[in-house]
Structure formats: structure tokens, C-alpha cells
Amino acid sequence: MIELQNISKRFLSNVVLDGVSLAVQDGETVALLGPSGVGKSVTLKMINGLLKPDSGDVIVDGLHVPKLKRHELALLRSRIGYVFQYGALFDSDTVAENIRLGITDEDQHRDVAYCAERVKECLRLVNLAPDVADKYPAELSGGMKKRVGIARAIAGKPKYLLYDEPTSGLDPVNADVIDGLIERLRDELAVTSVVVSHDVRGSFRVADRVALLWQAKIRAVGTAEEILASRDSAVQQFLERDLEMSLIQAEGNQERHGA
């Protein structure tokens, strides 16, 4: 279980989070929505201890993350996969080595045959060809980097997964593959996940519940139906803006189709 209890965070005078609370049950997938710059990535980084809250507590797997000693935190992190918004691939290592570093169990990490097998499997799961394994991150497209980042995060078979915009920058087909992967990990392996997203539709598909982060607070939490039916002005504003965006995109697609 992941629990954020009344956390606050500011950078100098910029108050990013102000009393945010959120609980994610075991086996549940929660989508965290919100406009750009609202603090979604910051929230996600609190969960695996990359950032510390100024006040409040973060509890993951029964452990108080901000108070953990370094080796305890490292141990906890090996059970949490983190997909970075911009991939954050190790650019002096090949794709295969990147994914292999994601295998967090030390015995498995040293087992060359197991690693080769696991790398291949993870590449397949994110819909990448096996020959990508020998390339360097600089040789990949943005969408491919993103998917390698996801492959690296799932390589260690984590119990928790934190996705920072896993489908942004992907074409619809691959966005679909990734959404399918998130669903499958939840259904088959009971992974507990938080999916940060801009994309309302995609997150409604993968998430059991959706939370809207708005002006430093969680404005609304609920199932897709509850969110859609909400009369809260911020929620409606956010949904409307998203609807407009997807209409514009649909028009663009049609134009391209017609041409």
C-alpha cells in the first residue's frame, strides 16, 4: 500500500504541494492527473524517496519513506519500479545494459543467461524489436527511449510501479500497447501502481481510481464515472480543456487522413 499523508513541499517560495493526501491500495492502479507544472512528478518522487516532503509522511509497504536509512531505502526502491518522464536512460550503456541494471535482485543480475532472457522479454513487452538491445540511447527515437525506460522499470519485477507520463510522446498504437501492459501488470501480477498522466481517456482506461491534483492540493478522487459526473468547477474545467485538446487532435488526424 502507498499512502501519502498530508504532505507539503515547497521550492524556495514556490509552494508545490500543500497538504496532499492519497492512498493507493494493494493491487490498485491510481491515475494522477493535473495540469502541467502542478507537481505530479514531485509527488511521484516523494513515493520512492527521491524527494523528501517538508512535512507529512509517506508510507510504502508499511515503511516510513522519509525516515528510512540509506540501505533500507535502497532495499525498498528495488521493489519500486519508476518510469521517468524523460526516460532518464543511462546514455553510456546499451539498451540491454540499461534494462539489465533494472534487474534489482543481485543474484539474478549476475546470472548472464537469465539477464539476456529477461532483457528480450521486457523488450517484447514494450513492443520493441530484439535488435534494439545493442543500440545506445542516443540512437533511439523519443518514443523508443520512453519504452526502454518502461522496460527497465519492469525488469526487476517490482511490486510497485510509478509511471511518470508513460504514454506521452508515443503514437496511438504504442500508447495502446503501454496502456495494455499497465493493465496486464495489474491484473496478472497484482502490481500496485500510480500513473501520472495528462491524458484523461488513457488514464480512465488503466486506472481503478483517478485523482486530480489542482493548485497544490488533491481536488478530487474517484472512479472514472465519479470524476466525469463531478460538479466541481476545477474538475469540469480540466475535463473540458482535455476534451478540446482531443477534438483538435482528432481534426488533425482527419486532415492528415484526407491529404
Partner: protein, 269 residues
């Protein structure tokens, strides 16, 4: 009124410059000490850093060899020419052998090599680690439960501490050789004279001294850029700033250490 605001401005001015650098220096000293402790703690995890250390060592070793030897060769040649210019007639020629070999081993070899490598290895370390910091690669490593200390810092630092003294020894040899050849060409110094002079003043301690010096410099060339790169902030501009700061700080530290080791080890009063 104007005087009061003027005084207030002055107070603010000096307050700012008085407190901030002090805090800055203390903060950095504290964090640097913590880093050293972390590095020492990480030493037990040789399984992680040794393989990476060898890769780094070959990279920086081969990559720096040419420029180091080039600079050492020129230093040897110039020392030789200047010795000739200053000595001719006044002192026996074999003195030139002593001057060339001793100034190479005691000062020019270690210091020039270290300064060159501060620009080559130091800048490289700071830029690499800075880029990894701002592109979240260091965060990514930590998010996998892996330690940046053992995966990134120790391999680089140990590689430098192994490679830099070795390069210094090559530099010493090259400098002396080129110095001798130049002296032979310009002063007509024979090999026998050169060897006689070199041996006459040479103490085995001198080579040790050269080696100890280069280990100290290796520490400066690796630790400072790694520390600065690892703590980079604010994007591409931050990486640029970290790189320049790293090279400048490492170079100044080398010069300070040079003075210090000369005083301590040679017992110059």
C-alpha cells in the same frame, strides 16, 4: 537620510558578502566530507566498481597519454634550452643533466601532468556526472536501489588515482629524454656527462617524492570534479558552470598542494 540609507546599503552589502561566502564554504566543506565518508564506505562493494573502474581507466589512460607526453617533451626541451642559456661557461656542463632531470621529476612532470589532466579528466568527469544529474540518470540509478557512489563515483576516482601517477612517471621519463636530446643538440652535452650530472644529484627519494606528489594531485583531479559534477544544478547551463568550476578548483588545489608537498616532503625551510 541619505547617510542612513547609504550606511544600510553598506551593511547589507557587507552582510551579504560576509555571510554568504562563509556559508557557502562551510556548506561545501561539510558536503565534501560526507562524500568522502560515503566513498570510503562504498569501498567494500568492489564487485560493483572494479569492472567499471577498468573501463574508465583504459578510457582516460589511452585518451590522455599523447597530450601528457607532448607537454612533458616540450617542458624537457625548454628546460634544457634555458639551462644552456643561463649556464654556458659559468658552470660545468654536466650540471645541465642534474637540472633537467631534477626539475622534471620534482616539479614539471607531476605538476604539468596534473594541470593537463585537470582539464582533460577533471572536465570530463564533471561534465559526465553533471549531465547525468540534470537528465535524472543519477535519480534513475537511485530509483533502482543502486548507489551512484559505487556505480559512478568510485570507478572514476579509483581509475584516476591509478592512471595519473602512471602517466606522471611516463611524463618524467619523456621529459628527461627529450631534455637530454635537446641538450645534446644545442649544448653538445654527451651522454656520459648527462648521466654523471643526473646521478650526482639524484636521490632515490626524489622519485618517491614525485610519486607521492602525483597521488595527491590525482586526488585533486578526480575528487573535486566528481564532487562538483555530482552536485550540479539547473540544466545545461549548470553543467557548463560545473565543468569550469571543476577545472579551476582542481587546478588551484593542485598548485596549493604543490607548495604544501614541496615544503613538507623536501623540508625546505
Amino acid at each position: 537620510m541619505a547617510a542612513v540609507t547609504g550606511a544600510l546599503d553598506l551593511v547589507r552589502y557587507f552582510g551579504r558578502w560576509g555571510r554568504r561566502p562563509a556559508q557557502h564554504v562551510l556548506g561545501n566543506a561539510g558536503r565534501f566530507t560526507y562524500l568522502l565518508i560515503d566513498l570510503a564506505r562504498g569501498l567494500t562493494e568492489w564487485r560493483v566498481y572494479l569492472p567499471r573502474m577498468f573501463t574508465q581507466a583504459t578510457h582516460i589512460g589511452y585518451g590522455s597519454l599523447f597530450i601528457v607526453l607532448l607537454v612533458a617533451g616540450f617542458a624537457g626541451a625548454v628546460t634544457s634550452l634555458q639551462t644552456g642559456y643561463q649556464f654556458t661557461g659559468a658552470l660545468p656542463l654536466y650540471y645541465a643533466g642534474a637540472v633537467i632531470s631534477e626539475s622534471m621529476i620534482l616539479e614539471l612532470g607531476p605538476v604539468l601532468t596534473a594541470l593537463i589532466l585537470a582539464g582533460r579528466i577533471g572536465a570530463r568527469y564533471a561534465a559526465e556526472l553533471g549531465t547525468m544529474r540534470v537528465t535524472e540518470q543519477i535519480d534513475a540509478l537511485e530509483s533502482l536501489g543502486r548507489s551512484p557512489i559505487t556505480h559512478l563515483l568510485l570507478p572514476r576516482i579509483i581509475a584516476g588515482i591509478l592512471v595519473i601517477p602512471a602517466l606522471t612517471m611516463f611524463a618524467n621519463a619523456t621529459g628527461i629524454l627529450v631534455g637530454y636530446l635537446t641538450a645534446k643538440g644545442s649544448l653538445g652535452l654527451t651522454y656520459a656527462d648527462f648521466e654523471y650530472g643526473a646521478r650526482y644529484f639524484f636521490r632515490p627519494l626524489d622519485l618517491w617524492y614525485s610519486l607521492i606528489k602525483s597521488y595527491c594531485f590525482a586526488g585533486a583531479v578526480t575528487l573535486i570534479p566528481c564532487y562538483i559534477g555530482y552536485n550540479t544544478q539547473q540544466g545545461a547551463e549548470g553543467v557548463g558552470r560545473a565543468t569550469t568550476t571543476a577545472v579551476v578548483s582542481a587546478s588551484v588545489t593542485i598548485l596549493l598542494l604543490d607548495a604544501l608537498t614541496t615544503k613538507l616532503l623536501l623540508g625546505v625551510k
